[in-house]
Subunit: 484 residues, 2 copies
């Protein structure tokens, strides 16, 4: 996930929330009449749960996507191979598969290296190597690179205080630190939101004052000299993430005196490419026109192999369909597996779906995406009508034996289904244990070994239980007020 | 540290130990007459300890060596800058400084990249990137690289079972896993010993069967797609360490079918270079001809900045001298600070010292090196006469308030002082908490931030207390039988 908009959204929801109706005015069933699942549906969900826990199907899909196909950046041949693979697999399960066209940005990583060429205490004939990686939408330096002095700022205020005179012609380093304490406390997402604005908007702010390149301290929690790439808003200057260690080095040296850097960053921005969302329907037996989505995103960043971000999400969504077929279950409504394209580079897949299915939104009875890794699932976050909470809890009770039964109405679900949530569709994100997620997120270390097969199966169980419940319960969940 | 010989040595000591005199026959003072330090010396050691704990001198030396000078591989301009820096610093403290000439190997890292070009499930037009780094003494591939099939083995037996027919013309990957459980249990060194033989001797074994390149799974405990470099015995074929993740990827794909790799590895082996051990004496007030060594090694690998391996060791040795000067202390014997050269690439510095000072060994009253990082010190390991143990414990009792008072007669101290220990000189290594040491060891992530200033000061306290005690106690410690 990239969560570029998360900060903005949460802020907006905070303001909007204060202006909307008091929660007590929402229609809610009295406590003594809390809706219950039928014992038959409960038994089916328990069967799905147990089948998910003993299945290695999701694991095999992740292994193929990451190890046989590899990184799946939007527009890459691997992304296209992944589309074919997932479509073929879902067809093989007997689903009705469509490829929905999505026009995606297409950037190819080039050379990327940097070294400090002048700094206090420098020994004759030496430089200090800097480890970095280009951000999405980075412009390229000349092939031979560029050399300039580096200015270090901790935030936008410090940048603006320097002003054009001290920024123009320089390389700006945003040195905002990812708060590892928050991550350790289970609030990695919040720590990410605090820091990621410098990655997403830093290069534009630097460019506005005449900077010729922008660097950001990697947004993540690890200490292994790993650069974390990610989306940045195009600013027509080279933009890269340096590792936490390199940010410290540059900041320390800059405190002592002048620091100059030679920077080579040659990503190629190619014409937009045609790609696809994979959309696969298991037709509903009573209301085939009503749709419940289970999903993950198929594209990934290109440094690692995109295992936790987000082959895992796609695989657990595929597992829901596989289990239904294996157990001979056909829900009342259509269960739709979606492998989204381009979550990382702007969300073109989600946007295309919202445009293509605009008129069908009223028939979307629910949507789930898993995009916070493959750690042990704790339950669900989402955007839903508070009156649905009791019924949701009666569903997730089935997940209590694996401690995955939390339900939190946080006002956000996951990037690709949030737009649906905004229109009133009950939208959910799997809530994983994210304490180590941001150590690996968007790095070369996002690889298959970061996934515990048991935890992946637990995620599959969670996805299957909530997805099937929404698709099969007699009534749909009430729609929320949305955010519009 | 490289510990190339550690496995061999421990094995040898095990055999030798079984053949030597029962421990009870060693001369030992009866328990009731256990030697005690004078209260005056004890008070002095306590002063040194407390001064070390409140000093930032060692920290500033590590910061300069790592951030202002940088990686210090044998033969590099940074290694020479480090020699000058340390010599100047020790002269400034008033020590008598000599540079002892050492002829060192000189290799410069070149291009290093690899990709899988054929493997099961490969999508058209794609490859899988492999993260690796050249080992010391690696030969170079042609500039355009080489391409060959990869054979994966877990150990030498598997390699030999394949035989020349299946190895010749191939790239061999040794996939022996570093045992993270042992590291977590505080026995990282033992885990290292088990795995490092494939790094140090694998390329020779592969070459013997006609392999054209050798890869080893990185010997270390981290999971952040970090290659760990290190010494390998020259074998005239390219030799590199792949990350644990990449070793897994290759092994998984090789289980499924044929795997081919394109490998570019272009280190340059230059003529041997002149370098130096820095030797700085604080002359003894009674027996200036008797010497006690406090030391660390000044060279490092070139991927990181050599903070924990081993700028920290040099810095805590320098701190012992600084504290003596600051507190106006002149011990009975000469306290000798040594910053060793070339510990990592063959130990030329230690060998030169043993050659140049061969006739002075009888006057060496003790030697300490810190080369297991800068984690919290637990005490000392060493090669010493068991009859010295009680006296040593009366010394380390001063370190009990910082929980650094263990003394273990393990038969090894640290790489640069072990040869002295073998001749009977009481030789010691600081025993640090090494649970995370092998996560960073020989990687790009061995940087200043891995050192906790408080723990570094504790190491300085430990070095100063044992170093000064051996230099100032009325009698020298009894010599050991050595290993000859």
């Amino acid at each position: 996930m990239h969560k570029f908009m998360r900060f903005v959204r949460i802020f907006a929801l905070g303001v909007a929330g204060a202006m909307t109706l008091p929660i007590a005015l929402y229609p809610q069933a009295p406590a003594e009449e809390a809706p219950k699942l039928s014992s038959e549906l409960t038994a089916t969900l328990e069967k799905l749960r147990d089948a998910a826990l003993s299945s290695d199907y999701a694991w095999r899909q992740v292994a193929h996507l990451t190890e046989n196909i590899g990184p799946r950046r939007s527009g890459s041949p691997q992304a296209e191979a992944a589309v074919s693979f997932v479509a073929d697999e879902l067809r093989r399960l007997g689903l009705d598969v469509k490829l929905e066209k999505v026009v995606v940005p297409h950037q190819v990583r080039g050379e990327e290296r940097a070294e400090l060429t002048a700094y206090p205490g420098q020994a004759a004939g030496t430089t200090q190597k800097i480890v970095l990686t280009a951000l999405g939408n980075s412009a390229a330096t000349p092939a031979e690179g560029l050399t300039a002095d580096v200015v270090v700022v901790d935030n936008f205020d410090e940048l603006n205080a320097l002003g054009r005179e001290k920024v123009s012609g320089r390389i700006v380093l945003f040195n905002e630190k990812f708060d590892k304490r928050m991550a350790a406390a289970g609030r990695g997402g919040a720590a990410y939101e605090e820091a990621v604005i410098y990655r997403s908007r830093g290069s534009r702010a630097a460019k506005a004052l005449g900077a010729i390149a922008a660097l950001v301290r990697s947004v993540g929690g690890a200490d292994y000299r790993l650069p974390h790439t990610g989306f940045s808003a195009a600013a027509a200057i080279p933009a890269a993430a340096v590792t936490a260690e390199d940010a410290e080095l540059i900041a320390h040296l800059a405190q002592q005196g002048r620091v100059a850097m030679h920077l080579v960053l040659t990503p190629k921005t190619l014409p937009d490419a045609s790609s696809y969302n994979v959309i696969a329907d298991l037709k509903g037996r009573e209301h085939p026109e009503q749709v419940v989505i289970v999903s993950g995103h198929l594209d990934s960043w290109d440094l690692g192999t995109g295992a936790i971000d987000d082959a895992a999400g796609v695989a657990v969504a595929m597992e829901t369909a596989q289990l239904c077929k294996k157990l001979g279950l056909t829900p009342r409504r259509t269960l739709r597996v979606i492998a989204w394209m381009d979550e990382e580079n702007g969300g073109a897949g989600s946007k295309a779906y919202m445009a293509d299915y605009k008129d069908a939104m009223a028939n979307h009875a629910g949507a789930i995406e898993s995009d916070l890794g493959a750690g042990h699932p704790l339950g669900f976050v989402g955007i839903f009508n508070p009156s649905a909470e009791a019924l949701l809890r009666s569903v997730t009770r089935v997940l209590a034996p694996i401690s995955a039964d939390l339900v939190e109405n946080t006002g956000e679900a996951a990037a690709d289904v949030d737009p649906m949530g905004s229109t009133g569709v009950p939208a959910f994100g799997l809530m994983q244990d994210e304490r180590t997620y941001f150590n690996y997120h968007h790095t070369a270390a996002d690889t298959l070994d970061k996934i515990d097969p048991r935890e992946l199966a637990e995620n599959a169980a969670a996805m299957a239980v909530l997805g099937y419940a929404m698709a099969d319960m007699p009534q749909t969940l009430p729609r929320s007020a949305g955010s519009k």
